[in-house]
């Protein structure tokens, strides 16, 4: 073999190899293209555009948008105008979100612990708890509306309350009670989280639980020392996702009340931003500013949640879990 052909083969090898790498890179980008384009065009661009809008006063003149630069006026209006709708809206949304997250996570955990015991009909039970979460939110709201309406309109719960001698409750017309109604519906549709928790509880090492029992520990010890550390990553992930969905509550409000009546108690952020963007005229710039403030607030909340639990690891349990097919 002469040296020339040797270098040639090396060159061919390098070329082939390099081509192999680029080929894979090209294929990778082609396969990921929809997701990447989607991110750039349907998320990143709208986000930046929204930020741009938020510095403008947007009016619609003969069908087309006219933008007028007003600097930080929209943000100033949001933060200084004490009677601004935004303040009420963000307050009720955040109160709803925090209470809802606490309720949903606690409730789902309790139900999951209940259903994690071995008994006949456990699978049926799991299906019953999960089923409501596939029902369209609209239908859910309508059914609960039927159950919670006042007596005259045929609310069943109020009739039952009356039978057992409790004064009827204005679930849908009292500013505070309508909040409770939202929580009831939210709990009814949280089956997905229950299923997730049940699956996670199966990973709790039984031998450790037994060891604690041997040492005379009670159920609380078991939960705190073994169960909680095992389910913690999933718990926090569910917490964050629940927070995101709670902040974006919409359907329940528009079905049960108009414009967040009574007293704007259900005038949630998404309802308000929809209103400012598509119903009221000349509010689009303000709506964009509001959306950005909401975005920053949610990012801050998520950031705090991440900060307070260092163990948000996704991959540590991956190898162990055998449910992947």
């Amino acid at each position: 073999m002469n040296p020339e052909s040797k270098t040639e083969t090396a060159a061919v090898y390098v070329k082939k190899h390099a081509r192999g790498v680029t080929k894979e890179a090209v294929a990778g980008y082609l396969f990921a293209a929809p997701a990447i384009i989607g991110f750039l065009v349907l998320t990143l661009y709208p986000m930046l555009a929204s930020l741009f809008y938020s510095f403008h006063k947007i009016t619609i003149m003969s069908g087309s948008q006219v933008m007028e630069w007003i600097g930080l006026d929209n943000f100033r209006y949001i933060f200084t105008n004490t009677s601004s709708e935004f303040k009420k809206s963000i307050t009720v949304t955040l109160i709803y979100a925090f209470i809802n997250v606490a309720l949903v996570i606690t409730f789902c955990l309790i139900v999951a612990l209940l259903l994690n015991r071995k008994f006949i009909g456990r699978n049926l039970m799991r299906a019953i708890f999960f089923l409501p979460s596939v029902v369209p939110m609209l239908a859910t709201t309508i059914v609960w509306q039927m159950l919670l309406q006042n007596q005259a309109k045929g609310g069943l719960l109020n009739w039952i309350l009356l039978q057992i001698g409790i004064a009827p409750v204005d679930f849908l017309t009292d500013p505070i009670r309508i909040f409770e109604t939202m929580f009831i519906m939210s709990l009814w549709t949280c089956g997905g989280t229950i299923v997730v928790f049940i699956a996670t509880l199966q990973d709790v090492p039984g031998e450790l639980l037994e060891a604690i029992e041997m040492d005379g520990g009670n159920a609380w010890h078991k939960f705190l020392k073994v169960t909680y550390p095992t389910i913690k990553p999933v718990l926090f992930f569910q917490l964050i996702m629940c927070m995101m969905t709670s902040i974006q509550i919409y359907t329940q409000s528009v079905v049960l009340s108009r414009n967040g009546a009574p007293d704007r108690m259900t005038y949630f952020i998404n309802v308000m931003i929809y209103d400012h963007s598509f119903v009221q005229v000349g509010m689009r710039g303000l709506a964009s500013a509001e959306a950005w403030v909401v975005f920053l607030i949610t990012m801050a909340i998520t950031g705090v949640l991440f900060y307070f639990q260092g163990a948000f690891k996704r991959d540590d349990s991956m190898g162990k879990r055998k449910k992947v097919r």
Binding site: V134, V143, F237, M241, S277
Partner: protein
């Protein structure tokens, strides 16, 4: 000596009995909760089949004497049923196809193919899960409007770009692709198969259960969508079934038994798909919840 042994024995018996009692109590409690959970669905079912006088009757009619199917006829007459059904279906079908196709592409790319900045793109795509929809709402609307796509296309297009909540599925499918051993695709590569061939012939058949999960969930999500339909569907001719239900429910005289019948019609596909794919649903929600 023997006495203490007997005492120990009885105390253990006592403890066992108490544990058993607690266990029974907890099972009863879960049964009670399950009844509470099932009741609204039963109430929906009942409401769809009772007569007009029965729906508001006090004491309430828990089991209607005769099943009244007129509610469905009358309810469907109040909306443009066939038109709205067609609208719903014509949005859902391409939506599900788009989702299954492009999320599996992305899942495959992010799991199996090496390309520059892969990690960054993956994190960016996945992070859209945590973005409140309000931030992108208006510019998206303007974008679709300026392209003349505000309407049905605006509801379908995101599915083809892994957008609008579908980042979840990208993550789910990536996890599935990661479990497939690399040797498999390497063997195929040596045999001369291209990347698309490896994806379609080797990978897809192996992740079929995950694809079913994605299809089921994207169906449910799209069928139940309300917020975006309210924004993009302006004319009554374009309304979907849930919007028809929303309008009838908001009428001055809603005729609750007809509303219930309509609500049942809107819910039925979800219930059917749930009953068929119960196993996949539970598996899917478990996986997305844990790893998403």
């Amino acid at each position: 000596m023997a006495a203490t042994a007997i005492m120990n024995y009885t105390s253990i018996q006592k403890k066992k009995k108490r544990a058993k009692a607690i266990n029974t109590g907890l099972i009863l409690l879960s049964c009670l909760l399950a009844v509470v959970f099932a009741f609204p669905l039963y109430w929906l079912l009942r409401g769809a089949f009772v007569s007009h006088t029965e729906i508001l009757a006090r004491p309430p009619v828990f089991f209607p004497e005769s099943l009244n199917v007129d509610n469905f006829r009358l309810g469907l007459e109040r909306i443009q049923f066939l038109r709205q059904l067609w609208n719903s279906v014509s949005i859902v079908v391409p939506y599900v196809i788009g989702t299954v196709l492009t999320t599996s592409f992305a899942g495959y790319a992010f799991a199996k193919l090496n390309f520059p900045l892969r990690g960054m793109w993956f994190v960016l795509v996945i992070s859209t899960m945590m973005l409140p929809s309000a931030v992108t709402l208006l510019p998206q609307y303007s974008l679709y409007t300026s392209l003349g796509l505000a309407g049905k296309p605006a509801l379908i297009i995101p599915a083809f770009f892994c957008a609008g909540g579908n980042a979840y599925f990208v993550f789910l499918l990536r996890q599935f692709f990661m479990t497939i051993p690399i040797e498999l695709s390497e063997a195929a590569k040596i045999d001369g198969a291209g990347y698309f061939r490896i994806y379609s012939r080797i990978m897809l058949p192996l992740i079929r259960p995950a694809m079913i999960v994605v299809a089921l969930f994207s169906f449910i999500n799209c069928w139940n969508e309300f917020f975006y339909t309210m924004i993009y569907l302006k004319t009554e001719a374009d309304y979907t079934l849930p919007m028809g239900l929303y309008i009838v429910n908001g009428m001055r005289i809603p005729n609750y038994e007809q509303v219930m019948a309509l609500a049942l019609v809107v819910t039925a596909p979800c219930l059917v798909f749930f009953l068929i794919g119960n196993k996949y649903f539970v598996e899917g929600i478990t996986l997305t919840g844990i790893k998403g």
